[in-house]
């Protein structure tokens, strides 16, 4: 169907890439043209636009949440439970131990997963802590999952997953935290589903990140790589603002905050390298 849609010229591609950059901070160069074009052509067809110009005008008019539909088409959402479990082990063995040193039982511990995609990471954090952290009942743990893509947030709230997403969970864990639906799909138990709050957040929008409050630990994996230098700096500062002093941030294993911003301290643990917002302000 997309084949019948109009082609996109170089100038149109550039205008659209500029528009996406301003809205999301994501950079789409000529090298990603095929990836971009396919999705744009799909949206042109889906909105019954007669040309790129007509679609672009529709997009800019803000009608019917088209910007959101377009952003949703560009986000990458494939993930699974207990991905990077060495970071989860570091969370329960090291990071939370440091965070609770200045808290008392009953205090809040806030953990943020951004981008959270369809919920595998924030639910993994919840399951991991219930299974592996001895103090899990002593504190009020709030887990927040955020993403720019509203479509994946809807899926995250529904909490239904296929076999592939659960491939790293034992049958015991699946039996304990999920109930089987049909056709090899499982849904997170209601109690656990209600333990995670989901919200729509664009990481480079300071107002949106501020509205989430401050966290003890942030998981922000494999998103900064999509940003250019300017957006990456803004995102790093938003993440800094979103951490409590002494709070930690975990990035993807190919990412390094030291290459993005000097705001954070590097912390090396046996299972992971993470970054910390300094306790004391440095002069």
């Amino acid at each position: 169907m997309a084949d019948a849609a109009p082609q996109i010229t170089e100038d149109e591609f550039r205008r659209l890439a500029d528009f996406l950059y301003r809205r999301t901070g994501m950079v789409f160069t000529e090298a990603k043209r095929y990836y971009v074009e396919r999705r744009i052509l799909d949206r042109i067809v889906a909105t019954s636009s007669q040309s790129f110009a007509a679609y672009f005008a529709y997009l800019r008019s803000g009608l019917r949440d088209e910007v959101e539909h377009l952003i949703n088409a560009f986000t990458v959402n494939e993930t699974y439970f207990y991905r990077e479990d060495h970071q989860l082990a570091c969370l329960s063995a090291d990071l939370l131990k440091e965070r609770v040193a200045t808290k008392k039982p009953g205090d809040a511990i806030r953990i943020w997963s951004i981008p959270c995609s369809t919920g595998e990471e924030p639910y993994s954090i919840a399951i991991w802590l219930l299974e592996n952290w001895k103090d899990v009942d002593a504190y009020d743990i709030e887990i927040v999952g955020s993403d720019i893509d509203t479509r994946v947030l809807d899926a995250a709230m529904e909490g239904v997953f296929g076999k592939r997403a659960l491939m790293r969970l034992s049958s015991e864990l699946i039996g304990r935290y999920f109930h089987e639906l049909d056709d090899e799909r499982w849904q997170i138990l209601d109690d656990l589903r209600q333990s995670v709050r989901f919200s729509r957040v664009n990481l480079i929008e300071t107002k949106e990140t501020r509205a989430q409050g401050r966290f003890d630990v942030i998981f922000c994996r494999n998103v900064l790589i999509y940003f250019d230098d300017e957006s990456r700096r803004i995102a790093a500062e938003n993440l800094y603002d979103s951490l409590l002093p002494g709070g930690f941030i975990c990035l993807g294993h190919t990412e390094s905050m030291s290459r993005i911003s000097p705001l954070f301290e590097v912390c090396r643990y046996s299972g992971a390298i993470v970054y910390r917002r300094p306790q004391e302000l440095r002069a």
Partner: protein, 202 residues
């Protein structure tokens, strides 16, 4: 099973209060100056306010926020405010300024021809790094012209490293000419060979 047993009331990270950005940048606490710098790009007089703040600011994270604000503005003026700091004796300041300039490549590019002719070799060397963020053909032309006349082998090496990444076949004669000008420098010979091979294979 629920991990939360009582509703939480997240404490929002502090946002700037109603005071003028200029006042906060000048007399606020560290947090207030940090927030004011981050909000400054929306202010019509942001560039001179940030320039004044940068000249007196001593707290690294606030300086970082000022540089980010200048990068976000991304104008020729904001690049001009940033440029003097690549001459700083303080390595952290030089790096911070360079990172900020790389985050506003279009604005920084306007100043690049002058920087590549600066009397200070360290500035010319750092300017090569700014070129890395520019569109490939523009950067290649400037850097090819630089290595055709540059007398400092370290500056040549920096330019060649960027050309290895961004160069095109039009850069090859300048690379060969540079190799001929430094016949006794084995590192440059090696770097030029690598650059030539990479450009040739593209």
């Amino acid at each position: 099973m629920p991990l939360i047993r009582k509703p939480s009331s997240p404490v929002e990270s502090p946002a700037p209060d109603g005071r003028a950005i200029s006042e906060l940048l000048a007399t606020g606490s560290d947090d207030e100056r940090w927030n004011a710098a981050r909000s400054a790009p929306m202010h019509p007089d942001a560039v001179p306010l940030l320039a004044a703040a940068l000249s007196r600011e001593r707290v690294e994270r606030v300086r970082e926020a000022i540089f980010t604000a200048l990068a976000k503005i991304g104008s020729s003026e904001s690049a001009a405010v940033t440029l003097p700091y690549i001459r700083s004796d303080d390595a952290a300041q030089r790096t911070a300024a360079l990172d900020a300039l790389r985050a506003m490549p279009a604005a920084a590019a306007e100043h690049l021809p002058q920087l590549l002719e600066d009397a200070d070799a360290d500035v010319r060397l750092l300017a090569c790094e700014i070129a890395r963020a520019m569109p490939g053909d523009d950067a290649s032309l400037l850097l090819a012209n630089l290595i055709a006349r540059e007398g400092n082998p370290n500056v040549c090496a920096a330019a060649i490293e960027v050309l290895t990444e961004t160069g095109n076949v039009a850069s090859l004669p300048s690379l060969a000419h540079c190799a001929a000008r430094f016949p006794d420098d084995p590192f440059l010979a090696f770097a030029i060979k690598v650059a030539g091979d990479r450009i040739g294979s593209r």
